[in-house]
């Protein structure tokens, strides 16, 4: 399909209509023919299909905030008005879209229990993308441990020196781990090839973890390994503290780092 000037055109909303089977037969055939040759539209259709399938799964009952519906309607109205205005406020448009998406996300996530590995992986991504900065920058393990002690971490922390393994300490932050107001000592390293490594220590037990087929034993310690996309998470227990290393480095490297630094409580 091409536009008036011969430039390639792509179907937008009509891909959704194609998915929802609301197109006429003739239009459906046109879209199908276009999909044969257009990778971009195929990708978009796959993404829309994924959302439709996931959203239609049984998510159980969930209690939503009382004002959610009104807020979504208000955000949508704002967005629709701004889209016809001569000067569109892009920031407002993005804010409105984000609110709508967040509302949909609440419904979606309520049905999918967010596990501890999900939360830890999310913290890694937030740090990796710059959304969640460190609060205290230092390459000195003792200085970071002292920072944690001064800022509400009541359990003993053990900030590793991984210099021998080419991972250099960058700093730390006191991180709110979950809705139970549990806090975590989070510290980060920069490794070979700009790889990032984040360690968290918090009060908890491995019994909180979902089942994994990848449990390894080393020096009498059991390591619970999870993969979330390109991120590897390795959990282990030290006394009352649950420790986890998270990184986008190769999975076996992350496991070896954990093997090297874990101690039996």
């Amino acid at each position: 399909m091409t536009g008036p000037s011969g430039t390639p055109m792509h179907y937008g909303e009509e891909l959704q209509d194609f998915l929802d089977e609301t197109l006429t037969d003739a239009r459906r055939a046109e879209v199908a023919a276009h999909l044969e040759t257009c990778a971009r539209c195929r990708r978009e259709l796959d993404a829309l299909r994924w959302v439709k399938v996931e959203a239609s799964k049984d998510v159980g009952e969930a209690e939503l905030p009382a004002d959610l519906s009104a807020r979504v309607r208000a955000a949508l109205d704002t967005e629709d008005k701004s889209s016809v205005a001569t000067t569109i406020s892009r920031r407002k448009w993005i804010a409105a879209s984000a609110l709508v998406a967040a509302a949909l996300l609440i419904v979606f996530l309520r049905g999918h229990k967010v596990t501890l590995p999900d939360r830890v992986a999310a913290a890694f991504r937030a740090y990796d993308t710059g959304v969640m900065p460190l609060e205290f920058e230092s390459s000195d393990p003792k200085a970071i441990e002292a920072y944690f002690a001064r800022n509400g971490i009541t359990f003993e922390t053990r900030v590793f020196d991984l210099g021998m393994m080419q991972y250099h300490l960058v700093g730390g932050r006191v991180h709110r781990l979950d809705d139970d107001r549990r806090i975590s000592a989070l510290f980060a390293y920069r490794g070979p090839g700009a790889r990032k490594l984040v360690c968290q220590m918090f009060q908890g037990t491995v019994a909180e973890l979902p089942r994994t087929d990848d449990v390894r034993e080393h020096n009498g310690i059991r390591f619970h390994v999870y993969g979330e996309g390109n991120v590897t998470l390795v959990f282990w227990q030290e006394g009352d503290t649950l420790c986890v290393l998270t990184s986008d480095a190769p999975a076996d490297d992350v496991v070896q780092l954990a093997f090297a630094k874990a101690v039996r409580a």
Partner: protein, 46 residues
Amino acid sequence: LSYDETAEVLHIPVGTVRSRLYRGRRALFGLLKDYAASIGFRRPEI
């Protein structure tokens, strides 16, 4: 609900239902693409 039924309930035109649903699905995918990839979805970019 169909698009028509949704339009009736929300007192908005059918075209608005359609475009809001489309934007919502795209935005939701944008937020969840890492999760989608983590459970095996292989075409996360739109």
